[in-house]
Point group: C2
Chain length 216, copies 2
DNA sequence: TCGCAAACTAGAACAGATTCTAATGAGTGT
DNA sequence: ACACTCATTAGAATCTGTTCTAGTTTGCGA
């Protein structure tokens, strides 16, 4: 009965990636003060737990407890575990984006700038393998609309085609950046399965990027 | 406690993709007669159920019931639902491979032959969307060693580089074919999420293949 | 200040995957 | 035929995600 979640709808336009807004869609919306805190506590608790034992350690009961909210409330904010995972991933992506802003890739070619970004993201995720595993897998499984691929694609376009946005880009450019993102995601998965080393990923990403982004 | 499955080990070398062999690893191994039947019945039951309502319809109790074995037995053959899904996917891949053998792609360039194969696989999966969804997602999630990507990579190498096998191929060739397989898997996922049409996938696969396999 | 609607809480209830138990069956070596 | 080992079975039990219920709290408008 995943369909009967008429509980609370998400606002039409999000200021953030995927937001599970716990307020009536229409009018007032003021209770947002403590709710932001609550949401934050929840996501933090979830991330902390996932950093330890992965998704299995991130049990809804435990998250709720650790965030100091009732289970029902947790489900009001995040209608399913996936939604919660998506939110955690959103935070991670925010981190990556701000890291990119802070220190933009400086390599000469679009391909090497893209590689730079992807490997930086890879290192970031490797630091918390359990978290990374939990996040990537769950994301891929998610019913939820996950802006993950799109955000990564946009990021790649931005750094490789010098500030190009998803809106301005041509179809082929989007396809190419998207394909590179796909390759990266799969490689990450293989790494988490223990079937790839960092170096192998780097080589593969470089090879793919060189061809996919040669004339972007 | 996924780790405490000292129940029954898999044989060192598989004649088939991923085999969950329900017999003692060592010596005799004769009980294999009815066990093959049993395994077959289980996989068939699972596939049939998944063709209907997807993974959720493929409930372990139901599979066991439909295959005429006890739940415990099902778990002896397939220690987790994922393992069962992997087995079902193996069958599907067998189907694809024999289809390729029967009618090999005849296009002129390596890239277009690869596209041919991938789109044929796509159409095959689209015919049973529930099954496809169940299979792909579960596969990606699986802890299980899944030969899926590798098998698809090998298949692509074979058709694009004219009979090249995974063993003979150079590292870069494997990387490139593997990357194309990654792109395909992700596109398939997007399609199953309703975010891609068949035509979009085809365009994207063509674009990626043209670049990745240009000189394979 | 009063009263309402929505949010929150504690905890029970439910569902499906996985594990465990006790008993039975089947194949093998003697 | 007998004893032994391992496979199988039915079913209970456990674990975790998700839903539901009843009661309490909170913020706001009248």
């Amino acid at each position: 009965m995943r369909s009967t979640q008429a509980t609370i709808a998400a606002p039409p336009s999000d200021s953030e990636g995927t937001m599970e807004n716990p307020s009536a869609p229409g009018g007032h919306s003021v209770r947002t003060r403590s709710q932001h805190q609550r949401r934050k506590r929840i996501v933090q608790a979830a991330a902390a737990l996932a950093s330890r034992g992965g998704v299995e350690a991130m049990q809804m009961r435990t998250v709720a407890e650790r965030a100091g909210v009732a289970l029902g409330t947790l489900y009001r904010y995040f209608p399913s575990k996936m939604d919660l995972v998506v939110a955690v991933v959103g935070e991670e992506l925010d981190l990556l984006e701000s890291s990119i802003e802070r220190r933009p890739p400086s390599a000469a070619t679009p391909a090497s700038r893209a590689v730079d970004v992807l490997m930086r993201a890879t290192r970031g995720l490797m630091r918390e393998p359990e978290l990374a595993d939990a996040l990537i897998r769950s994301l891929i499984m998610a019913e939820v609309q996950t802006p993950f691929g799109d955000r990564m694609t946009g990021l790649l376009l931005r750094v490789s085609a010098d500030g190009l946005t998803l809106e301005e880009a041509g179809e082929e450019q989007i396809d190419l950046a998207g394909s590179l993102a796909s390759v990266w995601v799969q490689e990450l998965l293989e790494m988490l399965r223990g079937r790839r080393t960092y170096d192998q990923i780097q080589r593969r990403i470089e090879t793919a990027a060189a061809r996919l982004l040669s004339d972007i």
